[in-house]
Amino acid sequence: MTTLSTRPTAGLRTSGTRAWLSRPSGGWRQSAANKAFLLPAIAVFVFLFIIPLGQTLWWSFTDFTGYSPEAAFVGLANYRVIVTDPSMLAGLAFTLLFGVGTTLLITLLAIPLAVQLNKAFRGRNLVRSIWFFPAIPSMAILGLVWRYILSPLESGALNTVLGKVGLGPVSWLSDPTLARLSVILVGVWAATGWHAVLYTAYLQSIPQEYYEVARIDGATPRQQFFGITLPLLTPAIVISTFLLMTGGLKVFDLPYTLTTGGPGFSTYTITQSIVVSGVGQGRYGLASALAVMFTLAVAALSFGQLWLTRLVEKRFA
């Protein structure tokens, strides 16, 4: 699933300079072999990241359309268009709402769920698998399935159930507010179990003695949760919210398949904007400007969040 893919932070440690073999034994030939090993990765990096990033940045200041080979420098005109274009602003707004909303809701649900899943009870493995399962299939397919469930027609499953108890039919996907809510809730449904499993992995590393000592001292379960469990889960919260936030901002599949961005532009996303204006309409300059803004926003949010959580982490450590 692309929205909540695993981009864990283990890789972020690049400076572990335990130099077992750093001394240049073997001379130039070994150095050449070393460079040859790096070559494919450098090629990937240059051709799939550096050059296109440069192009995106340059095009964002031009009126490049792709139809004519000439591109004139237009300064910040594209950026000015974005901040006045209703569809792009709507995409920006909903993407942020989705990112923040899913991160908050999933975190609030996944931690208590993880605590329960960590206790011994009959059928635990099955329950855990069921919660985890929605993380396996493509979000696009899940979005389509939910489109049928939330369908305004009477054969929509949810409206059928509501109809049986005398409610309804609710226009889940055609009312702007309900459509936004539906997309976010389906996102929460799909990812809560995955993040709960992440939290249980950390819960299992908390020594049971802490709880025993706390009980002997007369701590209530509530006090144990806030005094022991939550502080010791901080590293997991850092990672989980980081993945949720960055994944949430990149969201595309789910709104696109569930509502195609509608009604109107109420569930439009930045990614959909980039694809539609760039690939669809050939407005490269405009799409590039949007991509630049998006990249800066993702970078700022990611680093800001990392910095904030490190701060919190230090306090608890």
Binding site: S25, F133, L142, L144, L198, A201, I274, T295
Partner: protein, 274 residues
């Protein structure tokens, strides 16, 4: 300190009920594949009165379904193998030799790790048009190669925890870099390759953004695109759409059951901070 039996039972009941609620959408999809269109409209959530297999018969006799599976399998296998190879080679080179140049490069590569795919999509689309790789499976493979940087970061993190005396010994025995990499390093890093390979396979197999942008010919569709197009194709025939979805999900379920253990340990390995 034992929990009373009744509380344990209550927890069990509560958790199973909650899980059933979560599973309703999955039940809804599967149960309706065994119904006719009329029955689904009349009672979307009940069990089929007399299960029909016609939907499956029809979907499974559609050659496009098999075609899309073959396409997805090709793209996933080729791109994930290449990603792992490129990533592991770079990781080995970086870990073995910490020259100044390599350190600078390691920091540069972070760009590839944090930059969202959306920011390079438009230029890469144009480039692939130029190379006539748009609307081809190999074009998708090229796009997914970007994941090699992610593989590199995870593999090098794992490599730094390994006992490198083995490599030293191999080198003293006169083995070349390539021999060492192939016969010594690759077997050692197999656990992380499996974990990263699983995550990258799930990403490529499930991806919707790149196929929907790059693929337009019906015979080059991936499975996810095939399902997406089934919606417009079977506008009113919902059971047919559900059947296409279920068949598309079957390989993922098999994959999930087979790799569940690795996914759980991978969550830990990938997320326990370094």
């Amino acid at each position: 300190m034992t929990v009373p039996a009744w509380r344990r039972a209550a927890l069990s009941v509560a958790m199973i009920l909650l899980a059933c609620l979560i599973a309703v959408p999955l039940y809804y999809v599967v149960v309706n594949t065994f119904k006719t269109q009329g029955e689904m409209v009349a009672s979307p959530l009940s069990l089929p009165t007399s299960p029909v297999l016609d939907n499956y018969r029809e979907v499974l006799s559609d050659p496009r379904m098999y075609r899309s599976f073959a396409n997805t399998l090709y793209v996933t296998v080729v791109s994930v193998v290449l990603q792992l190879l490129v990533g592991a080679l770079a990781a080995y080179a970086m870990v073995v030799r910490t020259s100044r140049l390599n350190r600078i490069l390691a920091n540069l590569l972070l760009i590839g790790f944090v930059v969202p795919g959306q920011s390079t999509l438009i230029p890469l689309y144009r480039t692939l048009v130029g190379f006539e790789l748009v609307d081809t499976l190999n074009g998708l493979v090229v796009m997914y190669l970007g994941g090699a940087i992610f593989c590199y970061f995870l593999v090098q993190g794992y490599m730094r925890t390994l006992p490198f005396e083995v490599i030293e010994a191999a080198r003293i025995d006169g083995a070349h870099d390539w021999q060492i990499f192939w016969h010594v390093v690759l077997p050692l890093i197999k656990p992380i390759l499996v974990t990263v390979g699983i995550f990258q396979s799930m990403w490529v197999w499930n991806d919707f953004l790149l196929p929907t942008v790059f693929i337009s010919s019906p015979d080059k569709r991936t499975v996810v695109l095939q399902v997406y197009n089934a919606v417009t194709e079977f506008t009113t025939n919902w059971p047919m759409f559900m059947t296409v979805s279920v068949i598309a999900l079957v390989p993922m379920i098999i994959f999930f059951v087979a790799t569940q253990r690795h996914i759980a340990s991978g969550l830990l390995a990938g997320s326990v901070k370094g």
